[in-house]
């Protein structure tokens, strides 16, 4: 008989968390610290979701989504995880852009962007100041229909170079386009722009190990290799409620479910259309998922150093920025993340991860032969592009490998292999979920703004607060009627 990954668990928990991405783990941690009994289930053999890594022979270790996050991570990690985790967060100083329109180095903060926009791009200082200040003041609750592209035209008319500087890094970071609401750009850009780009020193493996230890210390029951197949509901007093989940074929009862699976998976596959009104199902189906990613992993042979060409290098051969070109199967836009030995103090290894935005549909349409050939092409084009900056790189590479939207789908099960959750409308569906099906909550990349490491951690906390509130109220009612 197969090993029982659920061996020893109890029949009932206060909360079952589906998925161990940063949103799921943070939600689980906060709820456990509130005193709830929490079971965290992950279908993969490793925790972390997209905040993950893998190793290859030759001592190579590759980080998937550790390219950079905003300074706010320090505060969130300290409050919702530990001081130890927060203390390992350091700034990435070498951010570069290299494309036909400009070539610049920046510390990626408001001051430096202001300097660049004024001195290099010759934009009036007053306009730059107004842009940053207005962006900061943008409010989620303002009902503003403007798109990001329209907003750029308002501040920097006809300046596709300025637009590229402002948009390209954000498009890489969250898959957003010029057609998305300006508010999504405003919130994400203001976060990133406050004080530069940061990383976790020690690597994703150390971070997730520390978070796992913290979860255990706070009493969270964690099970890997456990996929949730169904969210169980029951009709009570004329309304449907969540009563548990089915995982690895076994029913587990609970008061509430916090799903970190993609919002469309959660509603349409795990809970099932039958649990909702036709209107809500239609609204969910209409949610557009974001684009996906390809990556090329280059492991450098032991003993071969790389020159310091920057930490995060945004490169492109496209003449101007275009949201469509960025995700094209044959795009020339790539972000190089260079991991020098100080990424993992004590290590002497170098690694390069190339990230490329991509469309799931393009990759899903390929035959197995075409798929392999396209992966090979990605690898060779990425190496050729890197040779422009490190001419002797080819001879130093010991391991090369590519991942595609299909890889992401396989490991995370996300709808259409999305890397960055959903477009803006997904946030409303996610937030409305507990009203539609009491006991079911969702926390994970949605709505562009609740995405990325910081966005999903904070969203996990926001949703944990709602669950804690609902369970506290339930306890009060139970006590009052006892």
């Amino acid at each position: 008989m197969a090993y029982d990954w659920l061996k020893g668990i109890e029949d009932h928990y206060d909360i079952v968390v589906i998925g161990s991405g940063l949103g799921g783990m943070t939600g689980a941690n906060v709820l456990a610290k509130c005193g709830h009994k929490v079971l965290l289930l992950e279908h993969h053999y490793q925790l972390g979701g997209l905040a993950t890594w893998f190793t290859r022979k030759g001592g190579h270790i590759f980080d998937i989504s550790l390219h950079g996050f905003p300074i706010g991570m320090i505060k969130s990690c300290r409050k919702y995880w530990s001081k130890d985790i927060a203390d390992s967060i350091v700034q990435l100083k070498g951010v570069r852009f290299i494309n036909p329109q400009f070539s610049i180095d920046t510390t990626f903060d408001r001051e430096d962007f202001t300097r660049l926009l004024v001195e290099k791009f010759r934009v009036a200082a007053e306009t730059v100041e107004r842009f940053f200040t207005d962006l900061r003041a943008m409010n989620f609750y303002d009902n503003n229909q403007e798109t990001t592209g329209q907003m750029f035209e308002r501040y920097f008319p006809g300046r596709d170079d300025v637009q590229r500087l402002l948009m390209e890094p954000i498009a890489y970071a969250n898959g957003s386009t010029l057609d998305d609401p300006a508010i999504t750009f405003g919130i994400v850009f203001s976060n990133f722009m406050s004080k530069g780009v940061y990383t976790f020193q020690g690597g994703s493996d150390v971070l997730i190990r520390k978070m796992t230890a913290e979860l255990k210390a706070n009493g969270v029951e964690i099970r890997k290799h456990v996929g949730v197949e169904k969210i169980l509901t029951e009709e009570r007093d004329g309304a449907r409620h969540v009563t548990g989940v089915v995982a690895n074929g076994r029913a587990i009862r609970c008061e509430a479910v916090l799903s970190n699976a993609n919002i469309k998976n959660t509603i349409l596959r795990l809970a099932g259309e039958e649990s909702f009104t036709p209107e809500f199902v239609a609204e969910t189906k209409a949610v557009r998922v974001n684009s996906s990613s390809c990556q090329v992993y280059l492991g450098i042979r032991k003993g071969e150093p790389l020159p310091h060409i920057g930490d995060l290098v945004f490169t492109s051969d496209e003449p101007v920025f275009s949201s469509e070109k960025l995700v094209d199967l044959h795009t020339t836009s790539r972000t190089f993340s260079l991991y020098y030995p100080d990424t993992r103090p004590g290590s002497d290894r170098y690694t390069v991860v190339v990230s490329i935005n991509a469309k799931y549909a393009d990759w899903n349409a390929l035959t197995p032969e075409q798929y392999d050939a396209e992966k090979q092409r990605l690898i060779s084009e990425s190496i050729a592009a890197l040779e422009k900056h490190i001419p002797d790189i080819r001879g130093k590479i010991e391991w090369m490998e590519a991942a595609t939207p299909r890889t992401i789908e396989r490991y995370t099960r996300h709808w259409a292999g999305t890397s960055f959750g959903t477009k803006f409308e997904g946030l409303k569906v996610s937030m409305d979920l507990p009203k539609q099906l009491p006991g079911l909550y969702h926390a994970g990349s949605v709505g562009i703004i609740m995405s990325g490491w910081l966005g999903t951690i904070n969203y996990g906390v926001i949703v944990a607060n709602q669950i804690d509130k609902a369970l506290a109220a339930k306890k009060r009612t139970a006590m009052a009627s006892a």
């Binding site: 906060v30 509130c34 005193g35 505060k75 969130s76 409050k79 904070n458 906390v461 926001i462 607060n465 804690d468 509130k469 506290a472 109220a473």
Partner: protein
């Protein structure tokens, strides 16, 4: 519980949420946001801590009552009294 006791409990919570802030000179009538580096997540933490430590629920519609120390005391003291 007096309003001053209530302010002390709120300051206790803030000192845990924002350990680097100097809370000795907070002006009760001035908005907390204007004196301290507090963002909307910090206010959510205050709400969670009030529930966890004192069993007090602050509905979303009432979050604005937490703006300053004075308004916190005004809003929360009766809630503490109702619990006692």
């Amino acid at each position: 519980m007096t309003k001053d006791d209530c302010k002390k409990l709120v300051i206790d919570i803030i000192s845990d949420i924002a350990p680097d802030e100097d809370l000795s000179a907070i002006k009760p009538e001035i908005r907390l946001r204007d004196q301290l580096q507090l963002d909307s997540m910090d206010f959510l933490d205050i709400v969670m801590e009030l529930r966890k430590r004192h069993g007090i629920e602050v509905p979303e519609a009432d979050y604005s009552h937490l703006a300053s120390l004075e308004s916190c005391a005004e809003y929360l003291t009766p809630k503490f009294a109702a619990k006692a």
